[in-house]
Protein backbone atom coordinates (compact mmCIF):
# COMPACT_ATOMS: atom_id res chain seq x y z
CA UNK A 1 0.00 0.00 0.00
CA UNK A 2 2.65 2.51 1.09
CA UNK A 3 4.98 1.11 -1.56
CA UNK A 4 2.39 1.80 -4.27
CA UNK A 5 2.04 5.38 -2.99
CA UNK A 6 5.85 5.67 -3.00
CA UNK A 7 6.10 4.52 -6.61
CA UNK A 8 3.42 7.04 -7.59
CA UNK A 9 5.27 9.85 -5.80
CA UNK A 10 8.57 8.87 -7.45
CA UNK A 11 6.86 8.94 -10.86
CA UNK A 12 5.56 12.47 -10.23
CA UNK A 13 9.05 13.51 -9.02
CA UNK A 14 10.49 12.31 -12.35
CA UNK A 15 7.84 14.32 -14.23
CA UNK A 16 8.53 17.47 -12.17
CA UNK A 17 12.29 17.08 -12.75
CA UNK A 18 11.65 16.78 -16.49
CA UNK A 19 9.62 19.99 -16.43
CA UNK A 20 12.43 21.74 -14.53
CA UNK A 21 14.94 20.63 -17.15
CA UNK A 22 12.81 21.48 -20.18
CA UNK A 23 11.62 24.92 -19.07
CA UNK A 24 10.96 26.86 -21.25
CA UNK A 25 10.06 29.96 -19.17
CA UNK A 26 11.30 30.93 -15.71
CA UNK A 27 7.84 30.41 -14.24
CA UNK A 28 7.60 26.84 -15.54
CA UNK A 29 10.79 26.05 -13.67
CA UNK A 30 9.72 27.82 -10.47
CA UNK A 31 6.36 26.05 -10.51
CA UNK A 32 8.06 22.71 -11.17
CA UNK A 33 10.46 23.26 -8.25
CA UNK A 34 7.59 24.24 -5.96
CA UNK A 35 5.78 21.06 -6.95
CA UNK A 36 8.98 19.06 -6.52
CA UNK A 37 9.26 20.39 -2.97
CA UNK A 38 5.71 19.26 -2.25
CA UNK A 39 6.49 15.82 -3.69
CA UNK A 40 9.62 15.51 -1.55
CA UNK A 41 7.50 16.37 1.52
CA UNK A 42 5.05 13.61 0.54
CA UNK A 43 8.00 11.27 0.00
CA UNK A 44 9.28 12.01 3.51
CA UNK A 45 5.82 11.44 5.02
CA UNK A 46 5.22 8.14 3.21
CA UNK A 47 8.79 7.03 3.93
CA UNK A 48 8.13 7.55 7.65
CA UNK A 49 5.20 5.13 7.57
CA UNK A 50 7.08 2.73 5.28
CA UNK A 51 9.98 2.49 7.75
CA UNK A 52 7.65 2.40 10.77
CA UNK A 53 8.73 5.83 12.00
CA UNK A 54 5.71 8.17 11.75
CA UNK A 55 7.67 10.96 13.49
CA UNK A 56 9.11 11.81 10.06
CA UNK A 57 5.82 13.67 9.62
CA UNK A 58 7.11 16.52 11.84
CA UNK A 59 10.18 16.90 9.61
CA UNK A 60 7.91 17.07 6.56
CA UNK A 61 5.93 19.88 8.20
CA UNK A 62 9.06 21.93 8.95
CA UNK A 63 10.21 21.41 5.40
CA UNK A 64 6.91 22.85 4.12
CA UNK A 65 7.83 26.17 5.77
CA UNK A 66 11.38 26.18 4.34
CA UNK A 67 10.04 25.43 0.87
CA UNK A 68 7.50 28.26 1.14
CA UNK A 69 10.12 30.83 2.19
CA UNK A 70 12.51 29.75 -0.56
CA UNK A 71 9.85 30.07 -3.27
CA UNK A 72 8.84 33.52 -1.95
CA UNK A 73 12.50 34.65 -2.20
CA UNK A 74 12.87 33.35 -5.74
CA UNK A 75 9.61 34.95 -6.88
CA UNK A 76 10.61 38.24 -5.29
CA UNK A 77 13.89 38.13 -7.19
CA UNK A 78 12.15 37.42 -10.51
CA UNK A 79 9.47 40.06 -10.00
CA UNK A 80 11.44 42.95 -8.46
CA UNK A 81 15.09 42.09 -9.23
CA UNK A 82 15.83 42.92 -5.61
CA UNK A 83 15.66 40.84 -2.48
CA UNK A 84 15.73 43.65 0.07
CA UNK A 85 13.16 46.26 -0.95
CA UNK A 86 10.28 46.55 -3.39
CA UNK A 87 11.12 48.64 -6.42
CA UNK A 88 7.83 49.72 -8.08
CA UNK A 89 9.53 50.99 -11.27
CA UNK A 90 10.60 47.52 -12.21
CA UNK A 91 7.40 45.52 -12.24
CA UNK A 92 7.27 44.32 -15.81
CA UNK A 93 10.36 42.13 -15.76
CA UNK A 94 10.40 38.41 -15.37
CA UNK A 95 8.29 37.09 -18.23
CA UNK A 96 11.12 36.79 -20.72
CA UNK A 97 12.00 33.37 -22.06
CA UNK A 98 15.27 31.77 -21.12
Amino acid sequence: MFMAAMIGILATIVLAVLRTLLGPTVFDRILAINMLGTKIILLVAVLGFLLGRPDFLDLALIYVFLNFIGIIAVLKYVKFKNLATVNPDNEEVGNERV
Binding site: T20, L36, V74, K81, V98
Partner: protein, 182 residues
Protein backbone atom coordinates in the same frame (compact mmCIF):
# COMPACT_ATOMS: atom_id res chain seq x y z
CA UNK B 1 12.31 -1.71 -1.16
CA UNK B 2 14.11 1.34 0.20
CA UNK B 3 16.96 0.47 -2.17
CA UNK B 4 14.63 1.14 -5.09
CA UNK B 5 13.90 4.65 -3.75
CA UNK B 6 17.63 5.24 -3.20
CA UNK B 7 18.53 4.20 -6.75
CA UNK B 8 15.84 6.34 -8.38
CA UNK B 9 16.76 9.42 -6.29
CA UNK B 10 20.46 8.88 -7.09
CA UNK B 11 19.74 8.64 -10.82
CA UNK B 12 17.73 11.88 -10.74
CA UNK B 13 20.55 13.51 -8.74
CA UNK B 14 23.13 12.54 -11.37
CA UNK B 15 20.91 13.83 -14.20
CA UNK B 16 20.38 17.14 -12.42
CA UNK B 17 24.10 17.54 -11.65
CA UNK B 18 24.97 17.14 -15.35
CA UNK B 19 22.18 19.58 -16.23
CA UNK B 20 23.61 22.21 -13.83
CA UNK B 21 27.03 21.90 -15.49
CA UNK B 22 25.64 22.21 -19.02
CA UNK B 23 23.26 25.08 -18.25
CA UNK B 24 24.52 28.47 -19.54
CA UNK B 25 21.77 30.62 -18.04
CA UNK B 26 22.89 31.29 -14.47
CA UNK B 27 19.40 31.85 -13.05
CA UNK B 28 18.28 28.47 -14.36
CA UNK B 29 21.49 26.90 -13.04
CA UNK B 30 20.68 28.25 -9.54
CA UNK B 31 17.17 26.80 -9.79
CA UNK B 32 18.51 23.43 -10.92
CA UNK B 33 21.10 23.34 -8.14
CA UNK B 34 18.32 23.89 -5.60
CA UNK B 35 16.64 20.80 -7.10
CA UNK B 36 19.90 18.89 -6.59
CA UNK B 37 19.81 19.90 -2.91
CA UNK B 38 16.16 18.89 -2.69
CA UNK B 39 16.93 15.42 -4.05
CA UNK B 40 19.93 15.11 -1.70
CA UNK B 41 17.55 15.97 1.17
CA UNK B 42 15.35 12.99 0.24
CA UNK B 43 18.39 10.78 -0.16
CA UNK B 44 19.80 11.66 3.30
CA UNK B 45 16.40 10.87 4.81
CA UNK B 46 16.30 7.43 3.22
CA UNK B 47 19.81 6.88 4.62
CA UNK B 48 18.35 7.72 8.07
CA UNK B 49 20.52 10.83 8.55
CA UNK B 50 17.72 13.19 9.54
CA UNK B 51 19.99 15.91 10.99
CA UNK B 52 22.15 16.02 7.86
CA UNK B 53 18.99 16.10 5.74
CA UNK B 54 17.74 19.14 7.61
CA UNK B 55 21.02 20.98 7.30
CA UNK B 56 20.88 20.26 3.58
CA UNK B 57 17.30 21.55 3.37
CA UNK B 58 17.98 24.77 5.28
CA UNK B 59 21.41 25.56 3.81
CA UNK B 60 21.29 23.92 0.38
CA UNK B 61 17.76 24.71 -0.71
CA UNK B 62 17.11 27.83 1.36
CA UNK B 63 20.10 30.01 2.12
CA UNK B 64 22.40 29.03 -0.75
CA UNK B 65 19.70 29.63 -3.35
CA UNK B 66 18.90 33.06 -1.92
CA UNK B 67 22.62 33.94 -1.69
CA UNK B 68 23.17 32.88 -5.32
CA UNK B 69 20.18 35.00 -6.37
CA UNK B 70 21.63 37.96 -4.45
CA UNK B 71 24.93 37.42 -6.30
CA UNK B 72 23.13 37.30 -9.65
CA UNK B 73 21.78 40.79 -8.94
CA UNK B 74 25.37 42.08 -9.04
CA UNK B 75 26.59 39.98 -11.97
CA UNK B 76 25.16 38.97 -15.30
CA UNK B 77 22.59 36.28 -15.92
CA UNK B 78 24.55 34.54 -18.68
CA UNK B 79 27.71 32.52 -18.25
CA UNK B 80 30.62 33.69 -20.40
CA UNK B 81 32.02 30.96 -22.60
CA UNK B 82 35.67 30.34 -21.87
CA UNK B 83 37.73 30.68 -25.05
CA UNK B 84 39.34 27.25 -24.90
CA UNK B 85 39.12 24.10 -22.84
CA UNK B 86 41.72 23.97 -20.08
CA UNK B 87 43.01 20.42 -19.87
CA UNK B 88 45.15 20.73 -16.73
CA UNK B 89 42.32 21.59 -14.25
CA UNK B 90 40.11 18.90 -15.82
CA UNK B 91 42.89 16.35 -15.44
CA UNK B 92 43.49 17.37 -11.79
CA UNK B 93 39.77 17.11 -10.98
CA UNK B 94 39.51 13.69 -12.63
CA UNK B 95 42.59 12.39 -10.79
CA UNK B 96 41.47 13.65 -7.35
CA UNK B 97 37.96 12.33 -7.97
CA UNK B 98 39.38 8.95 -8.96
CA UNK B 99 41.54 8.86 -5.82
CA UNK B 100 38.48 9.64 -3.66
CA UNK B 101 36.45 6.85 -5.32
CA UNK B 102 39.40 4.49 -4.80
CA UNK B 103 39.41 5.51 -1.11
CA UNK B 104 35.75 4.54 -0.68
CA UNK B 105 36.58 0.93 -1.65
CA UNK B 106 38.16 0.39 1.78
CA UNK B 107 35.17 1.76 3.72
CA UNK B 108 32.99 -0.69 5.66
CA UNK B 109 29.66 -1.42 3.98
CA UNK B 110 26.55 0.59 4.92
CA UNK B 111 25.02 -0.70 8.17
CA UNK B 112 27.99 -2.98 8.97
CA UNK B 113 27.86 -3.83 12.70
CA UNK B 114 31.64 -4.45 12.82
CA UNK B 115 32.55 -1.01 11.48
CA UNK B 116 35.25 0.70 13.61
CA UNK B 117 32.87 3.50 14.63
CA UNK B 118 30.70 0.98 16.51
CA UNK B 119 33.44 -0.62 18.66
CA UNK B 120 35.23 2.51 19.84
CA UNK B 121 33.35 4.76 22.30
CA UNK B 122 29.82 4.60 20.85
CA UNK B 123 28.90 1.54 22.93
CA UNK B 124 30.06 3.28 26.09
CA UNK B 125 27.99 6.37 25.26
CA UNK B 126 24.87 4.32 24.56
CA UNK B 127 25.14 2.20 27.71
CA UNK B 128 26.39 4.66 30.31
CA UNK B 129 24.73 7.93 29.26
CA UNK B 130 21.86 7.61 31.74
CA UNK B 131 24.11 7.09 34.78
CA UNK B 132 26.88 9.49 33.83
CA UNK B 133 25.09 12.54 32.49
CA UNK B 134 21.35 11.98 33.11
CA UNK B 135 20.34 13.16 29.64
CA UNK B 136 18.03 10.71 27.84
CA UNK B 137 19.00 11.94 24.34
CA UNK B 138 22.36 10.41 23.40
CA UNK B 139 23.15 12.87 20.59
CA UNK B 140 22.62 15.85 22.91
CA UNK B 141 24.75 14.21 25.59
CA UNK B 142 27.62 13.61 23.16
CA UNK B 143 27.48 17.13 21.71
CA UNK B 144 27.00 19.06 24.93
CA UNK B 145 28.93 16.97 27.42
CA UNK B 146 31.29 14.25 26.10
CA UNK B 147 32.52 16.53 23.32
CA UNK B 148 31.68 19.78 25.07
CA UNK B 149 35.02 21.48 24.37
CA UNK B 150 34.75 20.54 20.70
CA UNK B 151 31.29 22.12 20.51
CA UNK B 152 32.57 25.22 22.35
CA UNK B 153 35.31 25.57 19.72
CA UNK B 154 32.81 25.24 16.88
CA UNK B 155 30.50 27.83 18.40
CA UNK B 156 33.45 30.21 18.85
CA UNK B 157 34.43 29.82 15.19
CA UNK B 158 30.87 30.45 13.98
CA UNK B 159 30.50 33.46 16.30
CA UNK B 160 33.78 34.96 15.07
CA UNK B 161 32.76 34.45 11.44
CA UNK B 162 29.42 36.12 12.11
CA UNK B 163 31.08 39.15 13.70
CA UNK B 164 33.48 39.39 10.75
CA UNK B 165 30.59 39.29 8.26
CA UNK B 166 28.74 42.00 10.17
CA UNK B 167 31.86 44.19 10.24
CA UNK B 168 32.38 43.73 6.49
CA UNK B 169 28.75 44.46 5.64
CA UNK B 170 28.47 47.54 7.85
CA UNK B 171 31.38 49.16 5.98
CA UNK B 172 29.69 48.88 2.58
CA UNK B 173 27.63 51.76 1.16
CA UNK B 174 23.95 50.96 0.71
CA UNK B 175 23.15 49.90 -2.84
CA UNK B 176 19.77 51.67 -3.02
CA UNK B 177 21.32 54.96 -1.90
CA UNK B 178 23.86 54.72 -4.69
CA UNK B 179 21.14 54.26 -7.27
CA UNK B 180 19.20 57.29 -6.09
CA UNK B 181 22.12 59.60 -6.79
CA UNK B 182 21.87 61.43 -10.13
Amino acid sequence: MVGFIDVSLFLLLAVMAVAVILQRNLFTAVMLSSVVSLLAFGLYLTLDAVDVAFTEAAVGVGITTVLFLGTLLHTGRKEKRSPKLDWLPLLLVLISGGVLVYGTLDLPTFGDADAPIHDHVATHYLEEVEEEIHIPNVVTAVLASYRGYDTLGEVTVIFTAMIAVFMLLSGLPRRSEEEEMP
